[in-house]
């Protein structure tokens, strides 16, 4: 479903991803683990099209289509969703307005009917209750004054409402206490289905106790250096990334 081949990405003039290849079949959850600076966030930004993250070589096919040729909003309309490590605060735009604008923009791009205000409210009430979010909070400007945990729940709420088919979670567990982590993980697990692919980017194994991956990939210095089953995450937790790091000369 997602096929990344020999991807090279530079930020400014600095190469960050250096020949990354990865396949995520439909219905599977793949974890990408790696030390700081390995290029984990860069992978999420490159797949979602953030300006300044330039693919200099390689290809990304999503449902058979060249993902790198599309604008960020077009990728979103085709189902790509990045849950940000640090969700952005947008003063002056109520969270509800923001999500509805996004949902209807995606629907327009796909040639579908827009969602009416009452139908949207009904959707949001159900989704926010499932995430144990205070509905009134959604009338406030997006993420402004939200705690770290509230911001992450807001990301998952958007995910639930936008129903993407490629979910990229960038360090979704950072800043979450154990209760919030469980709620967020439940929200993500509820999205698992045979038509969706998920890429869970994380430094620590902890998140993978809650969102169980089918495959685990180790990202070091811009490349996948090892892949395996869920047991690989436990091995990394016990032994660290040292064995994969280049030996100092």
């Amino acid at each position: 479903m997602l096929s990344i081949t020999n991807l090279h990405v530079s930020v400014g003039d600095k190469p960050i991803l250096k020949g990354l290849s990865l396949d995520v079949p439909a219905g599977e959850v793949h974890a990408v683990m790696g030390p700081n600076g390995a290029g984990k966030s860069t992978l999420g930004y490159a797949l979602s099209g953030r300006p300044g993250y330039e693919a200099t070589q390689g290809a990304v096919a999503w449902k058979g289509e060249d993902l790198l040729a599309l604008e960020p909003a077009e990728r979103a309309a085709k189902g790509v969703f990045l849950s940000f490590q640090y969700p952005i605060e947008i003063p002056g735009v109520p969270a509800l307005t923001f999500v509805r604008t996004a949902l209807n923009a995606q629907k327009r791009a796909r040639g579908e009917d827009e969602v009416s205000a009452p139908a949207f409210l009904k959707m949001v009430k159900a989704a926010s209750a499932a995430l144990k979010m205070d509905f009134d909070m959604l009338k406030r400007p997006l993420n402004v004054g939200f705690s770290g945990g509230e911001k992450k729940r807001m990301e998952i709420l958007q995910m639930a409402l936008l129903e993407p088919s490629l979910l990229i979670l960038d360090e979704t567990d950072s800043g979450l206490d154990i209760d919030a982590l469980r709620i967020v993980a439940d929200g993500v697990n509820a999205m698992r289905n045979p038509d969706r692919a998920m890429l869970v980017i994380t430094h620590y194994q902890r998140l993978l106790d809650y969102i169980k991956p089918d495959r685990v990939h180790v990202l070091v210095a811009g490349r996948i250096v090892a892949s395996g089953g869920p047991e690989l995450a436990h091995l990394l937790e016990a032994e660290g990334y040292d064995q994969y790091l280049p030996v100092p000369a």
């Binding site: 604008e71 960020p72 909003a73 979103a76 790509v80 969703f81 947008i90 002056g92 735009v93 923009a105």
Partner: protein, 340 residues
């Protein structure tokens, strides 16, 4: 304090050039060297942008009063003040006097409605806010991009008066909205805001002088602007605290987004303080839309142009949210949204 320039359309020597300090960013003489031919009579049609809010109407067509040219407010009243221009290559001056009786409340809804081209519109407003009276003045200026339009409002706020002003404009070839306000203090409370949204080669100048003459006066000023293409926004805000005006609390903010590489914003905030015990502050920022926020919106599926418009509206809406009157606030919000 320097006396403001008195423009007289019949006297070309009264047209200020950029050599006059208060007009250095808005060089009227560059565009107007000779006395324009007087505009012919014109009709006022429709009800104006504030039609939905009803009230009395005072209208000027090419400078001529359609009915009365003065208004005295008592009790609680709404007045739509309409400056309608429909002229080509000619000039006109409108003068209006408004007095608000002690304790009265006036919602003053002012519109500058332009049709035609290359005209010169000059408006003079004289507004008296008596003891304990309250005035909310909302200005919507919507004029062609090739006209010159100068409005000068002289406002006097008596002790205990409340004055709320919000000027919203899309500019013109050269447009200036000037407010000279004499602030008596003694509990008088002034909020004076502005908003400009300029594209093409439009120019808007929001200039104000608030003169705190007595003690314990409050002034709060917030102006926000967005300039695109080669447009130019000018903000000149001066607050003077005279000797003896102790206990004055005055705050001024001006914040602008420059969205065109050749667009320009000139800001000149001034605080001139002759009293000792005062609280005064001003802040001024000029920037661009936040790239991280723009990407976040796009990642959620909002196309770039729509994302820009949404963030621009979010930036400007703070000014509109300060309008206390619900109906007027909604009219202004819709007016702005339609122009984003």
């Amino acid at each position: 304090m320097n006396a403001p320039v008195r423009i007289d359309l019949k006297d070309a020597s009264s047209f200020p050039s950029r050599r006059v300090e208060a007009w250095k960013y808005s060089d009227l003489r560059k565009f107007l060297r000779e006395t324009p031919e007087p505009s012919a009579a014109a009709q006022v049609t429709g009800e104006g942008p504030f039609a939905a809010l009803g009230g009395e109407m005072l209208a000027f067509a090419n400078g001529r009063a359609v009915g009365a040219d003065a208004f005295v407010a008592s009790g609680e009243q709404t007045l739509r003040l309409r400056f309608v221009s429909d002229a080509v290559n000619t000039g006109h001056t409108a003068s209006v006097r408004i007095a608000v009786r002690p304790g009265a409340r006036l919602l003053l809804l002012e519109s500058h409605e332009g049709a035609g081209s290359a005209y010169v519109a000059h408006n003079r407003i004289d507004l008296d806010v008596a003891d304990g009276a309250e005035v909310t003045r909302i200005v919507l200026a919507d004029e062609p991009d090739d006209v010159l339009a100068i409005t000068n409002a002289e406002v006097r706020v008596a002790p205990g008066g409340r004055y709320r002003q919000t000027i919203v404009t899309t500019g013109a070839k050269l447009q200036r909205q000037e407010t000279q306000l004499a602030h008596a203090g003694a509990g008088a409370d002034v909020r004076m805001d502005g908003l400009y949204l300029l594209d093409g080669a439009r120019h808007a100048d929001l200039t104000s002088v608030v003169d705190h003459l007595g003690p314990d006066g409050v002034t709060s000023q917030l102006t926000k602007g967005v300039v695109r293409d080669t447009a130019r926004g000018v903000f000149q805000g001066k607050i003077v605290v005279e000797r003896g005006a102790d206990g004055t609390d005055a705050r001024m903010g001006h914040h602008a987004l420059i969205l065109g590489e050749r667009a320009e914003v000139d800001a000149k905030p001034e605080l001139i303080i002759y009293a000792d015990d005062v609280q005064c502050a001003h802040g001024n920022t000029v920037g661009n839309l936040d790239a991280a926020a723009l990407f976040y919106l796009q990642q959620r599926g909002i196309p770039l142009d729509e994302a820009r418009a949404l963030l621009t509206e979010a930036f400007l809406v703070e000014v509109i949210d300060r309008i206390e009157h619900d109906g007027a606030r909604e009219v202004v919000r819709e007016w702005l949204t339609a122009r984003l």
